[in-house]
């Protein structure tokens, strides 16, 4: 199990909050809420992948430069699944 915090420069405000996903094998839970600065707290069951997380999140914030506080509880999701859940959470904040 590993925890780390990653910071990104997002400034587009979020409208609402969202909670998507499940903590199940190969999946993750994403909590997203408005914030002044973009901080992502990752808690993952698989050690040694901080670089992959950073790259995956950088891709997301390059497309969606939101100012958000994001909490991730990961249970071994692939980058593809992580990207889907992040996009789903962002969509849900607009609902």
């Amino acid at each position: 199990m590993e925890r780390f915090e990653l910071r990104f420069s997002g400034n587009a405000p979020l409208v609402g909050r969202a909670h998507v996903g499940v903590v199940a094998s190969g999946d993750l839970e994403v909590l997203m809420e408005p914030a002044n600065e973009t901080v992502v707290s990752v808690r993952t069951s698989v050690d040694g992948f901080e670089k992959v997380w950073r790259a995956t999140l950088e891709r997301f914030f390059a497309r969606h430069p939101v100012a958000a506080r994001i909490e991730i509880n990961d249970s071994g999701a692939t980058p593809g699944v992580v990207s889907l859940r992040l996009a789903q959470a962002l969509e849900r904040t607009k609902a």
């Binding site: 996903g21 094998s25 190969g26 999946d27 698989v46 050690d47 071994g76 699944v81 889907l84 789903q88």
Partner: protein, 205 residues
């Protein structure tokens, strides 16, 4: 030979793996137990997409093997009848949950570390391991049956992850029971978000 995701395959030789950049641990793992797990991409043109397990959760390697390099195939349904090689909370939970699962009209069995240990006899479950179970739902399942499984899983002394295999792909049981507008569907073409209504409609060819 038909293969499905989660099936464990015993290879005729540990060298059967087709990969150019296999890490050293993968060769060591196959030398100790020449078993691989079928990935969701499955079988295409005589090649099966498989994964190699290492010791830690970070040690997972995707490769392919030729169909004719497979000596034996064990599905989760086969493995639930195997006698556990040792005592572990995952096996105890599996036996306990079996009483609920056997009472509903869906096939089930272990996957993940528990399945691998039952197939290979090689100690794979750790004190931190979850129990991964596969539930086959070829038709629309009875919601109360699924809820009963989820309740029983929640009472287990360790984390139990149940994945529901539908004709369209796989979904986490807990997500399905949450009445979501969309679920994460794992398909042979990769994961996508899907409406729960799509799960029991056969995919177009």
């Amino acid at each position: 030979m038909g293969v499905r995701p989660h099936d464990l395959l015993r290879l005729t030789t540990p060298n059967a793996l087709e990969a150019v950049d296999a890490p050293d641990w993968a060769a060591r793992s196959l030398a100790a137990a020449p078993w691989v797990v079928v990935r969701r991409a499955g079988l295409a043109r005589g090649r099966i997409a498989v994964g190699v397990r290492g010791v830690s959760r970070a040690e997972r390697f995707a490769a392919v093997v030729a169909e004719d390099a497979v000596a034996e195939r064990l599905s989760p349904e086969d493995l639930r009848h195997h006698t556990p090689p040792r005592a572990h909370p995952a096996f105890a939970a599996m036996a306990q949950l079996g009483r609920t699962l056997d009472a509903i009209p869906l096939h089930w069995g272990p996957a993940g570390a528990a399945g691998y240990e039952l197939a290979t006899g090689r100690p794979t479950l750790t004190p931190a391991s979850d129990l991964d179970l596969v539930l086959r739902a070829d038709g629309v399942p009875d919601r109360s049956a699924l809820a009963a499984v989820s309740d029983a899983a929640a009472r287990a002394p360790l984390r139990v992850d149940v994945v529901v295999e539908t004709p369209a792909g796989a979904v986490a049981l807990d997500e399905l029971l949450g009445d979501p507008a969309e679920v994460l569907l794992r398909t042979p073409q990769g994961p996508r978000l899907a409406s729960p209504d799509e799960l029991w409609v056969a995919a177009p060819c």
